[in-house]
Amino acid sequence: MKDKFIILIIDDEESIRDSCSQVLSKEGYSTETAEYGNVGLEKAKEMKPDLVLVDLKMPGISGMEVLESLKDIDPDIVSIVITGYATIESAVEAMKLGAYDYIPKPFTPSELRIITRRGLERRRLLLETAALRQEKKQMEENFISLVTHELRSPMIAVKQYFDVILEEEISGKLTEKQKEMLSRASQRIDGLMKLVNDWLQMMGIKENGVAKRSQAFDIKPLLAEAIELLKPLADKSEVALQLESFDALPLVYGDNSTLKHVFINLLSNGIQYNRKGGKVAVCLREEGGFLAVDITDTGIGIPEENLPLIFDQFYRVRGKETRKIIGTGLGLSIVKRIVEAHKGQIKVHSTLGKGSTFTVLLPKAPQNQKQNKGLKKSIKKARV
């Protein structure tokens, strides 16, 4: 897998650095040394070592701190602790911080050889596991794109045939009955395409993805945008949309694009499961450490026994009023997944025949979040 293992030796004693380096080079490994912890960490970032020998007692940052930071650089790095003050306590502490093994000073070249060989065996296993994990991920992704293509192509073909036949200007006159049946068939295909898209989106929601894109932002413009987007649907359904908010609300910490999906979904539910002349109100308030967004509709409501199930995948409330509405049964489970990826919560209250309120709780941005983010960016830029 690897042609030459790289070993980094961090020790303030020159004799230790030199002797270790000499012994290990002879074994055919590539070695590098550092006198202090911080220098060692810089070198670790640069050369991505397979194994690191760390002295516990050094001037400057301690060996324990070095161990912790090494894990951030590469979680699969194998570190071995060297020390002259070998005690059970320090050994246990080092192991807790992720050290793989422990070698007390003074040690013989053959002791060093054995312990590094074992450490590198461990490294080899870790790398193999990581490669397998990567391969599995790749296979999953390929599977998703294969399914997308193989499912979407035929659906698109069917959809386009329907649309051409339905366009009388192109294909000639249809009877009312034919038109109605073909329109319904075309809508069902739309539903199926939406299902595939929703399902793909579901597979794509990963907590670390959300965390990576998260930042502090004002949620009001996002809600206004979602309302604007759904205005045509609301007008068609004769449902009024309104945003009730208060000016002095804190920023939320989250991923703008996936959160937009959450509110579009909840609003469109509020509109579709409503009655003519009804309304959907969006209200903002604070609740504990969260910013709460209430989306209240004057719709048909959800039977109490169904409430625990509505966030399940593919679950849809069946009834006279819902039969005509095309849905995939994935909308709310996607919403829940996105909200939970934000470490938020979603709650629902409903009265049958009167309407429902969905409440999304999102973490507030820490007070100085915005500045921090900016600072981090400028530091990054300065480095580049």
């Binding site: 073909a157 045939y161 649309d163 051409v164 200007e169």
Partner: protein, 134 residues
């Protein structure tokens, strides 16, 4: 003279649908079912407009075709066809949507227009008319 449209797509259903749409407006249609066949047909038919899919014999056959056409230099075999209006169609949205749209019209993806499948018949007709009028 009726305008001639070349449709390059390995999806026979898409070709059938577009032929039905253009047939209703007395456009003349010619089809090719791969990028390679498309290049051949361009020389044989000298169309007024080309519709080309992205994924055909491989993932990027459509991209290659438009690049060959648009970067043809004076004196080369495709030069006489290098300015024919191009409409690119594809079923992909998520991954490529933003990238492709941003690149449409640039040297990276030198097409005139871009549409996502399923296309809406009347939208397609309007777009074609507009492209041919230029």
């Amino acid at each position: 003279m009726n305008k001639k449209i070349l449709i390059i797509d390995d999806d026979e259903d898409f070709v059938a649908v577009t032929e039905a749409i253009f047939g209703s407006k007395s456009y003349q249609c010619v089809a090719a079912y791969s990028g390679k066949e498309g290049l051949q047909k361009i020389k044989e038919e000298n169309p007024d407009l080309i519709i080309v899919d992205v994924m055909m014999e491989d993932m990027t056959a459509g991209f290659r075709l438009v690049n060959i056409l648009r970067t043809a230099e004076e004196g080369s075999e495709y030069y006489p066809y290098s300015r024919i209006p191009l409409l690119m169609v594809t079923i992909y949205e998520d991954v490529t949507k933003r990238g492709i749209r941003e690149k449409a019209g640039t040297t990276l993806l030198p097409v005139d227009e871009f549409m996502r499948k399923p296309i809406k018949p009347l939208e397609l007709l309007a777009k074609i008319e507009q492209m041919l009028a230029k």
